[in-house]
């Protein structure tokens, strides 16, 4: 049952990623990205990680996807990947490079401490445990995060208001 859910979600994730890479129109890519992000949220649910799943649905599939669609609407795309490609040979080179990368990560997977069952299970407390950690051990990084978001807001405003 769980394996079935995992397989379905994995097929969705990989398929939508392939769609994002292959489709020429960036708005199709954005919609594939939404599917991809939503199925990753489902993957988190099958891992019994509710907090990342909800955060994924809200932050990624909600805010970031909308931001992408807005940017595509502003930029009037569709004509930028036509015409001759000056770097065509280099682009074909990308496929074996990624193949080697995948091979290396496969080797790491076989050698890493992923064999057999994990340590004895005491059920991690879900959202409660995450919140407890976030506001005790990780309090300082948490505050730094707020500063980072503030800096991003200010930076985006200065960039967007500048006269071209």
């Amino acid at each position: 049952m769980q394996l079935g859910a995992f397989v379905i979600l994995a097929v969705l994730v990989v398929g939508s990623a392939a769609g994002l890479i292959l489709k020429r129109n960036p708005i199709h890519g954005a919609l594939f990205l939404v599917v991809n992000l939503a199925s990753v949220a489902g993957l988190y649910l099958t891992l019994r990680a509710e907090f990342p799943a909800t955060a994924q649905a809200i932050v990624y599939a909600g805010a970031i996807a909308v931001l992408f669609v807005f940017a595509i609407m502003v930029l009037i795309p569709g004509k930028e990947e036509t015409g001759p490609d000056p770097l065509r040979g280099q682009r074909w080179l990308a496929v074996p490079v990624v193949g080697v990368f995948l091979l290396l990560s496969g080797l790491i997977l076989r050698s890493a401490a992923l064999k057999g069952p994990g340590p004895a299970a005491h059920v991690p407390g879900g959202i409660e445990a995450v919140g407890r950690l976030l506001f005790t051990d990780y309090l300082f990084p948490f505050e730094v995060t707020s500063f980072l978001l503030l800096a991003a807001i200010v930076g985006v405003l200065t960039l967007a208001k500048r006269k071209a």
């Binding site: 891992l47 990947e81 990308a94 990624v98 997977l109 340590p119 991690p124 995450v130 995060t145």
Partner: protein
């Protein structure tokens, strides 16, 4: 219970597809989406490892990655919009100058 190694393998595949997207595509928006996909792949691996070792720290790290990704997308899209305003075209191959 699905073994965590399946999730880590899926994460590796997803990350590789993100790398492929970054290397193959010319549109900076699509490259950006591929980068988001790579961040997502790292998140999946983090959650899988966290669940395997029965700790919530993986999910805390995912939270931080999401914050950084949100900030990155906002700033990056603003930069892309400014570049488009300046040049009226969008292709990463033409953006070879740091300034002009």
């Amino acid at each position: 219970m699905v073994p965590e190694s399946y999730y880590v393998a899926l994460s590796a595949v997803l990350f590789s597809m993100g790398v492929l997207g970054v290397l193959v595509r010319r549109n900076p928006l699509v490259i950006f989406m591929s980068i988001e996909m790579m961040l997502n792949a790292a998140n999946v691996a983090l959650v899988a490892f966290g669940q395997r070792y029965n700790t919530a720290e993986g999910q805390v790290l995912v939270f931080f990655v999401m914050c950084v990704a949100a900030a990155e997308v906002a700033v990056g899209l603003a930069i892309i919009v400014v570049i488009f305003r300046l040049r009226r075209r969008l292709s990463v191959d033409e953006l070879s100058l740091m300034r002009w």
